[in-house]
């Protein structure tokens, strides 16, 4: 990824107008990425990457369920990026979005560690478990809606959801214990 001036907001290029149903989801892509990464510029990096993948995919065949496809790819890409940042901290761009306050100087660090643990837990999940968890917790979708989007039964979605929550719980439990 190219370096950019601090504070700049990345532009993503749309290849062709007829393939740009992406732009209606770009805000959500940004939100999903941000949830996992906590950094505005990293989230924008993911938006750009996901768009390029969307463009490539649409040249072959437009996904039947674009939102589900985008969520899956976004979460994968965000996790990859976080892994990269962890091994190469110098690549990190921008500061934490919510730095600690003077009254609670450790809050920002603690929050970042929490986010890191959650993202690591998500990394251990299957793609569908990850997607279900994010769709339920962050997108506020019902199990029925998620089932429709992913093309599976609500009972399957609920099973995936419980497994995903327990995985996050077990990871956070290591912190809390």
């Amino acid at each position: 990824m190219t370096a950019r001036r601090k504070g700049a907001t990345r532009l993503a290029t749309i290849a062709k107008p007829q393939e740009s149903s992406f732009d209606q989801y770009a805000g959500e892509v940004y939100g999903w990425a941000y949830r996992l990464l906590g950094r505005h510029h990293d989230a924008l990096d993911v938006v750009q990457d996901v768009f390029m993948r969307w463009d490539t995919q649409c040249r072959r065949q437009t996904p039947q369920r674009p939102r589900g496809w985008l969520r899956r790819v976004t979460l994968n890409r965000a996790i990859d990026l976080r892994r990269q940042r962890k091994t190469n901290p110098d690549l990190a761009t921008g500061s934490l979005q919510f730095p600690a306050t003077a009254a609670d100087p450790g809050a920002g660090v603690e929050r970042e560690e929490l986010r890191s643990d959650i993202t690591e837990a998500l990394d251990q999940l299957s793609e569908i478990q990850r997607g279900v968890l994010v769709a339920k917790v962050y997108d506020g979708m019902t199990f029925a809606e998620i089932a429709t989007e992913l093309g599976v039964t609500p009972s399957t979605i609920k099973t995936h959801f419980v497994r995903a929550v327990r995985a996050v719980r077990d990871k956070l439990g290591q912190r809390w214990s």
């Binding site: 950019r4 907001t9 992406f22 939100g31 919510f98 419980v162 956070l172 439990g173």
Partner: protein, 181 residues
């Protein structure tokens, strides 16, 4: 009596806040008597809460400009140029242009002040009264009675004394009147 198997079936709806009122009673009744399931539920609920309590992403506006997708920070209302560099409303103004504008304003103010002063000075320096020629004519007209050479001369001298700046014509008339006698 609700079993742990029933608890497992209702756990997803409980964590996802989709329990019906009847199922909620069933679920809570089991929690009251089963410590293992209660711990399972409470720790899972805390994990969901931790995820929800992470800071939410800032609001962004997404729009298309030609073949570009622009993602803007809604709050700051920032926009981007083609190089992807941020352009805030303030940064759109060239600092040199800003300096030039300020200089022009100062110069304009100085010019106005100078002009006002010049006009005021000229106003004060110029004697009150009508233009030179007209004033002399009127003064001459003001001489009562028949006008003799001496009266005309006296009038011209008076005009000269009152308005030395306008006295050139007065001098000529004096000279003419003197020559005529």
């Amino acid at each position: 009596m609700t079993s742990c198997e029933q608890f497992e079936e209702l756990l997803a709806d409980a964590l996802g806040d989709e329990l019906s009122p009847e199922d909620r009673r069933t679920f809570e009744d089991h929690l009251a008597v089963c410590e293992r399931c209660r711990n399972d539920y409470e720790s899972s609920r805390d994990a969901v809460g931790a995820m929800q309590n992470l800071p939410a992403p800032q609001q962004v506006d997404v729009r298309r400009e030609g073949d570009r997708l622009v993602i803007e920070n809604n709050r700051a209302n920032r926009s981007l140029d083609a190089s992807g560099l941020e352009q805030s409303p303030r940064s759109k103004v060239n600092p040199l242009a800003r300096l030039a504008g300020r200089t022009l304003r100062y110069a304009a103010s100085a010019l106005v002040a100078f002009t006002a002063g010049y006009v005021a000075h000229g106003w004060q320096a110029a004697p009150a009264g009508p233009p030179p020629g007209m004033g002399i004519v009127k003064q001459i007209d003001a001489v009562p009675g028949s006008v003799t050479g001496g009266d005309l001369q006296q009038a011209l001298v008076s005009a000269h004394l009152r308005g030395p700046r306008r006295s050139d014509l007065a001098k000529c008339l004096i000279a003419v009147s003197t020559t005529d006698g």
